[in-house]
Symmetry: C2
Subunit: 301 residues, 2 copies
Amino acid sequence: VLLAGRGSSDNAARYAQYLLGAHNGLGVALAVPSLFTLYESPPRLSRALTIGVSQSGQSPDIVAVLREARAQGGITLALSNEPESPLSRAAEYTLPLLAGPELSVAATKTYSAQLFLLGHAERGARGKSRALGRARARAGLARRGDRTEFGPRARRGPRFGLRASLIVLGRGFNYSTAFEIALKLKETSYLPAEQFSVADLLHGPLAMIDQDFSVVLLAPSGRSLVDVPELLARLEARGARVLAISDAPDVQRRVPMHLALPRGVPEWLSPIVSVVPGQLFAGALAQSLGHDPDCHAVCLR
Amino acid sequence: VLLAGRGSSDNAARYAQYLLGAHNGLGVALAVPSLFTLYESPPRLSRALTIGVSQSGQSPDIVAVLREARAQGGITLALSNEPESPLSRAAEYTLPLLAGPELSVAATKTYSAQLFLLGHAERGARGKSRALGRARARAGLARRGDRTEFGPRARRGPRFGLRASLIVLGRGFNYSTAFEIALKLKETSYLPAEQFSVADLLHGPLAMIDQDFSVVLLAPSGRSLVDVPELLARLEARGARVLAISDAPDVQRRVPMHLALPRGVPEWLSPIVSVVPGQLFAGALAQSLGHDPDCHAVCLR
């Protein structure tokens, strides 16, 4: 399977890379669009499923990937919010996001809709489909924010105590969530927030962390929690400030600043829920810094 | 093809992703090691070539990827500086780096050796093999530093005028180089330098760039130069400080602070040469900030 997307859609594709690998045993690559456009030397795709992910369906290089894959006789699928877009026309099949117009410049609801649709790629036991519905409901609750514990807390995000550098950590299924929250922080607060996998950070870049760092840590329950106690000890020893996003009682006890996730969501679906407090936090932070989270496109001009 | 590596070796794998895609038409994925270790749900690899890249050959999760691929009956290859390492034992085939002991904690010569070996994967016209030899020679010259224009300039790197935030930009073949230079800056200067593809940056995160940013731009001659004039105009308009690494006369004229690359290296081989001034710059910057570029492992303890 080849997945192609830019920005938030690329982060949704990264979720699918884990999902299709872990549950369906498929080899999954994230596309390198410049091989199709810049270098005009695309790989052979006649026996691949190529999935283009794009909210607007307009991104010319993602359209180029799908067009080439289809010309080679491969299976092509578009995930787009615009069923009449160039991407949808380029692909043999389209799954529409049905999310309604994306009013936010920094994509939020369409990211959730992409994850939800990709979640269906899960090889289909019935219990799993019910779990997907429950995760969506919890993300919905989460989105209405004030009804959950973390809604108001995320809005108090700025009190988190931002330091000179900001990074976002995740692992496994939520590595994608770390990418997406870091992107929202860049797009709305103009902060150079970089994402890391916990495993990669411990392999080297941990050396740069000191008391000048704020760390947003994605830590939903599941196997990826295995490194978290060691990680927290190291971050503490280096004087970093940590904000955790977690449903795990151990993590919540250990990290005073945390945004609580609803419980009972399986790890493979947790990205659908765990991104929401990160989005709310990014929005609140942007406003506290005097930015309009939606001025992005204007600022770019 | 599935490529697995951590840190610098992962960046070398990213170079191979472009190389094998552009010149050999292969579908190439960068491995997600946690599918093999954390989730114990590896993809099917019996019909894949799986390449493990590791200087020391010790990284347990990269060894796990190779072991699983071999157990499934796939073709397995290790690129390692240690032919007796666990990685080499796990793989059916080994290509030794033959770089001698890596004395630097932040891998440098072994990264170059990995790129050089991977360059041989290029489907074999004879002229191309000669070009590879020439690129190696130029990287060697570059490494002796003071004999080229950019050697002493890289050592004056700190005068570049470092600002609060630092990013490294590249595209196409040199996207891998941007990752590697950013990693060297993190490992030796403890600066949170993030890499971006020029295409991704223009797609959104450009909004965060302002006069608080220093930008290291990889701009060797070739097709990936196409976006550079627009990029430079945008960076200038936003007040960022730019250091270019380039052999292109246009770029050198336009960017007063540049490190000149030797001319005549084709784009597909330029990563072998273009990483060198970035490594020298990172080393000089670390020293000017009072760090020993090799204290990394000690600092981590």
